[in-house]
């Protein structure tokens, strides 16, 4: 595994690029106070809407705030929201799907129909409704994202568990008298989790996109939080000043691309079918 990962760094440039991009954003987010030259929320009305320059690398917005500093700080919110959503939704989905798949029968039927009901709403619309119902703030936005995201994991997990539970080592455990809970936790879930993990890597990019989309629509964090989606939406009113919306948008884009490259690479690595040469 480690060796093939090393080989992948050498041969799969897109994967390497993805790792570099994501690491760069993570470091930037952690070291934001050291890297950002200005305070991201302090306004300077004498320096409104200035184009990129030596003082302000990415220019300034309509309140004279330094866009470079805001973009660096913004990574914290996007990364946090993306990762937390994936971890929580992934955990819920994993257990839900594993139980449905392992228990089977009517329980499985009812559990899956429930999750399909959520899936039958386009995710953005459902997240918008939940946000509208609960009121919009950072916490509720993440809650909405989790509600929308978990059924996909549940379905994936269930389909893997259905085949894993037929394995002899599961039968052996049952014969030894292990409880259902023990078999689920010790045998079924550990042997089914890898595909969920790959899905989670790719999904971080999606969740960052969804989060910024909701913020763009005014359903995320409140101003003056330096959140990328909201910054792009600020730029819509200053259409001819390309840097106001341009740089935060580029930030979201690079982050999502990085996560997708990594997810793609991991899928190639772990799916032997794709490794076969044509």
């Amino acid at each position: 595994m480690l060796r093939s990962l090393k080989k992948m760094f050498k041969s799969n440039y897109l994967f390497t690029l993805g790792v570099i991009i994501c690491l760069a954003w993570i470091i930037a987010a952690i070291l934001a106070p050291a890297i950002a030259p200005y305070d991201p929320v302090v306004q300077d009305l004498t320096a409104r809407l200035q184009p990129p320059s030596a003082q302000h690398w990415f220019g300034t917005d309509n309140f004279g705030r330094d866009i470079f500093s805001r973009v660096i700080y913004g990574g914290r919110y996007s990364l946090l929201a993306g990762c937390l959503t994936v971890v929580i939704a992934g955990a819920i989905g994993t257990f839900y799907g594993a139980i449905a798949g392992y228990v089977g029968g009517q329980v499985d039927n009812v559990m899956m129909r429930l999750s399909e009901m959520i899936l039958s709403f386009p995710s953005l619309i459902l997240a918008m409704i939940i946000n509208a119902v609960m009121g919009s703030n950072l916490f509720n936005t993440m809650f909405a994202l989790i509600i929308v995201a978990w059924p996909t994991y549940a379905r994936m997990m269930r389909s893997v568990v259905l085949s894993v539970k037929e394995n002899e080592y599961v039968t052996a455990s049952e014969a030894l008298g292990a409880s259902k809970m023990r078999i689920l936790m010790k045998e079924v879930i550990p042997n089914s989790i890898s595909s969920v993990l790959i899905m989670a890597t790719t999904d971080i990019g999606n969740q960052i996109l969804m989060f910024s989309t909701l913020s763009f629509l005014g359903l995320g964090s409140a101003p003056p939080t330096p959140e990328w989606g909201m910054m792009v939406s600020d730029g819509v009113d200053y259409f001819n000043k390309f840097w106001v919306a341009g740089f935060p948008g580029l930030a979201i884009f690079t982050m999502a691309v990085g996560a997708n490259f990594i997810g793609d690479g991991l899928r190639d690595l772990l799916d032997p079918k794709l490794r076969k040469q044509f």
Binding site: S120, P122, M128, I129, A132, T213, F239, G249, N260, F278
Partner: protein, 339 residues
């Protein structure tokens, strides 16, 4: 007979899911913090006790919750979605006004996504691991990763504002008046009027929002086509065909593509459903008077009857598309029906 049974089963399933979704929406509306009467009636109507009492009676808000639920379902069956607070018109009328604009854009985008997605996928699979493959993969990852609201702003800024290559927001240029409504799709209605320049103008207005909307789905279709084609190419029957001396192009077009495209059909179907959701951003930025823009404005003004209407309409679309894809799947691929 077997086929009919399969279709019948899917349709029963569709009805059950519809009831489930309507119930889910009902539960969501019950989660609205505060009094639903205050949330749904305007300030002026709230001052009039008669209106408040009539409203409560109409939706059974003075009744226990299960009675409310039955009433809600009855209203839905009568296609009564209530009145929009923001526009003061029946939600159903509003939705039928916006819907054709959305359908026109969605159909345009899905056709665009399918054509380019399948084409790119085939090229990428044939030239696996070559430079072309890497470029196509980069394009498809870009399509999946680019935030659509930002992409929309980019194309508006460069192609419309800077280069003046294509028209920007709206469905028609100011020099044209809207065609008489037959289908509600401007391109088709203009053609029915015999007005070719107007139809061309309508098409040119579709290109920018259509491209932005298609980007994500195109990326997905490219990936699915590529990986399925690669899977199929390693099967025995393809090896046999190859051993018979068939050229690569003939092999792919005549033998491999048919089987490889079956899963792509699902992605296209799901993509169409997702497009309807993605409309919110694109329609808002391109000032496209469709369901997405209506949904966005309704959410901003907490117009719950309208939001519920949009949610039900889009979920309905989504489920119908899925059912059609399921049925088509069974028709095209007999293996699915047997299992």
């Amino acid at each position: 007979m077997e086929r009919l049974k399969f279709i019948g089963k899917r349709l029963v399933y569709l009805v059950i899911m519809l009831i489930g979704v309507a119930t889910l929406v009902f539960i969501l509306t019950k989660m609205v913090p505060g009094d639903p009467v205050t949330a749904n009636l305007s300030q002026r109507a709230l001052g009039d006790p008669e209106i408040v009492a009539a409203y409560k009676a109409k939706y059974g808000l003075d009744q226990p919750i299960y009675v409310q639920y039955i009433k809600y379902m009855q209203n839905l069956l009568k296609l009564d979605l209530g009145t929009s607070i923001r526009t003061n018109k029946p939600v159903l009328d509003e939705l039928s006004r916006c819907y054709p604009a959305t359908i026109e854009l969605a159909l345009f985008a899905i056709v665009l996504a399918a054509i380019f997605g399948i084409l790119f996928g085939i090229i990428s699979a044939i030239r696996r691991n070559s430079a072309v493959d890497q470029i196509v993969r980069a394009i498809s990852v870009t399509g999946v990763s680019i935030p659509s609201f930002w992409f929309a702003l980019l194309v508006l800024y460069f192609i419309y504002y800077k280069l003046h290559l294509l028209p920007g927001p709206g469905r028609l240029s100011n020099s044209f008046s809207a065609p008489a409504t037959v289908t509600g799709l401007y391109v088709i209605d203009s053609l029915l009027e015999g007005n070719i320049p107007k139809a061309l103008d309508a098409i040119s207005h579709l290109i920018l929002p259509g491209t932005v909307l298609a980007a994500f789905t195109m990326g997905l279709i490219t990936r699915t086509t590529r990986s399925n084609l690669l899977d199929v190419m390693s099967t025995d029957y393809i090896r046999t065909a190859r051993a018979k001396g068939l050229g690569r192009a003939g092999l792919i077009i005549r033998h491999a593509l048919g089987n490889a495209l079956i899963p792509v059909l699902t992605v296209i179907g799901l993509g169409l459903g997702n497009l309807l959701g993605g409309m919110v951003l694109v329609e808002t930025i391109f000032n496209w008077p469709g369901v997405g823009q209506f949904a966005y404005e309704s959410v901003l003004s907490n117009d719950f009857p309208a939001i519920i209407g949009v949610a039900l309409l889009i979920a309905l679309n989504y489920m119908i598309i899925n059912t059609v894809v399921d049925i088509l799947y069974g028709v095209i691929d007999p293996r699915v029906r047997c299992s």
